[in-house]
Amino acid sequence: MTLEDICLCYEDAAGERVRALDGVSLELSGGVCGLMGQTGSGKTTLLEVMAGVSAPDAGRVLVDGLDAARGAGARALAASVGLVFQLPERQFFEPTVAEELTFGLLARGMGAEEARERAARALALMGLSMDELGRRSPFALSGGQQRRVAIASVLAARPSLLLLDEPTAGLDPRACDACLAAVRSAAAEGATVVMASHDANALAEVADRVVCLEGGRVTLDGPARELLADADLMRAHGLEPACAARATAALRRAGVPVEGAPLTAEELARAIARGRGLT
C-alpha cells in the first residue's frame, strides 16, 4: 500500500473544522508497522483511510499501484484488508462464537467446512479453543476472551493487510501475549500489519518500524528498535518510551553503564551485565 499526501478534515461537536490528517505519505510492504501518537493525533483516522472506511479529502491510496478509490483498486483493497477496530467486541451480533467467526468467510462464499476450519485455526492463534467456546454466546465471554474472539474473526479471513487499532488496550498479560503472537504470526505468513498503539512495550515485541503522528502529520518514521529505545526522542514527541528504555536512560543518568539499545527486561539485564564486565 502506498499513501500519497493524504489529507482529511472533519467537523467536531462544536462545529469546528479539524484537520485529522495533514499530508500523510507512507509506503507499506510487509512487516509490522507500529503507529504511535497521542489521542487525537490521527491514528484511527489513518487506519480508516487505509481500510477504505473513510475517503480522504485529498491524496491517494494505492494498492499494488492501483487507486483504491475506484474499480480494480477498490476491489483489491476490499479483498486484502482486515481492520480490527478499537473495542471490536462491541460489534458482535451472532448468537455463538462459531457463527461470529465464520460469518465473514461464509459471506465471501467459502464452504461451511473450510470456514469452520479457518475460524478454529484463527481462534487457536489467539490462544482459544473452538471446542470450548464455539457454542457459547460471544456476549457471555470475559472481556479478554471477547477481544481475542473479535480479533480472530478478522484473522480468519487471512487479510494481507491487517490493521489493528489499540488491540491490546485493557487486556491482561496472557491475552496481550496471545494477541502479539498472532500479530507476529500474521506478519510471518506475509501480511503487512499496521498496529496503532500507545503501548511502547507491546510494540517493542512485534514492530519492525514505528511511525509517529502528531496533529495529523508524520513526525517520526524509522526502525522500531532505534526509535523505541530512545527515551528522550520518544518523550520529545509526546510518547511514552518502553519501560526498558526509560530504565536505560535513568541508569545512564545515574552513571550505570548500559550498552546498546535494550528494549526488553532480558536485553537490559544482559546490557547491564556486559557493562559490569560479565558476558
Partner: protein, 274 residues
Amino acid sequence: MGEKIVEARGVCHAYVPGRQDLRGVSLDVAPGELVAIVGENGSGKTTLARHLNALITLQAGALSVAGLDAADPEALWGLRRACGMVFQNPENQFVSSVVGEDVAFGPLNFGMSEKDARAAAAAALGAVGLPGFERRDVHALSGGQQQRVALAGVLASGPEVIVLDEATSMIDPQGRDELVRAVLRARAERGATVIWITHDMELAARADRVVVMRAGEVAAAGAPEDVLVDEALLASAGLEPPMPARVWAELVRLGAASGPASVTVEGLVSALCA
C-alpha cells in the same frame, strides 16, 4: 491491621448457579491505604470491587465498608455514597453530556441541595485539575480529561473509598498520568482510601499493598516489593513481575547482582548504584 475501612470475610458470589466467581474472599483495607488488585481477566477483581459499593449484592460471607454492613438492605445508599467507582471506559459512565451536570448528578441523587451540589461539583472539578469545565461537552474532552470528570463525579459525593476498575487502560499515557496524579492528590487532600484494579504492574508497584486474585480467590496480599517479585505466584495468576523486577531476576541469574529485587525503575537504579 488496626482500623479497617473495608472488611471482607469469606465473600462468595456466583453469577449463575453452579459457578463460583468469588470463592470466599477475605480482605481488610485500612483507611487511607492505596491497594492495587491485580489478576487476569475473569479472576474476580471486578466482581469483588462491585460488592464494595453494592452494585452486586452480597450472596454469602460478610462485608462492611466504612462501617456499613453490605448485608443490610437499609445500608445500600450509604454504601454507594461511601464507595465511588471509576470504570474502564469513560464514555460508558456519563449520565449527561455537560460536565457540570454529570459531576453534580451524584450529589443531587444523594439528596444534596442544588446549590450545594453545584458547589461540590465545582470543588471536585478543581480537585482533578479541571476547574471551570462545568459547561464543556464531555464528548469533546480527551480520554484522560473524561476519566478525570468521572473521578470528579465520584469525589463530589465525598466518598471514603474510591475504586478504580481498569480506569487507565482505555486512555493514552498522558491521560493515565493525569488521572494517577488526580487520584493521588485526592487521596492526600481528602484522606480517601484508594482501591485500584489494574493490569499495569508499574502502577501496582506504587501501591501500599498489592492483592493478587486468582480464580475467584485472594492468592496473595502484601507489600509490592514482596508480592510483585514472586515469579511463580504471579505466573500462577497469569501475571508477570514489573519490568525492573524481571531485570533484577535476570541479573541475579547472570551473577551480576544479588539481594532483594526492586519493583520500580527508581529502586532498580538505587540498587545498581549501591
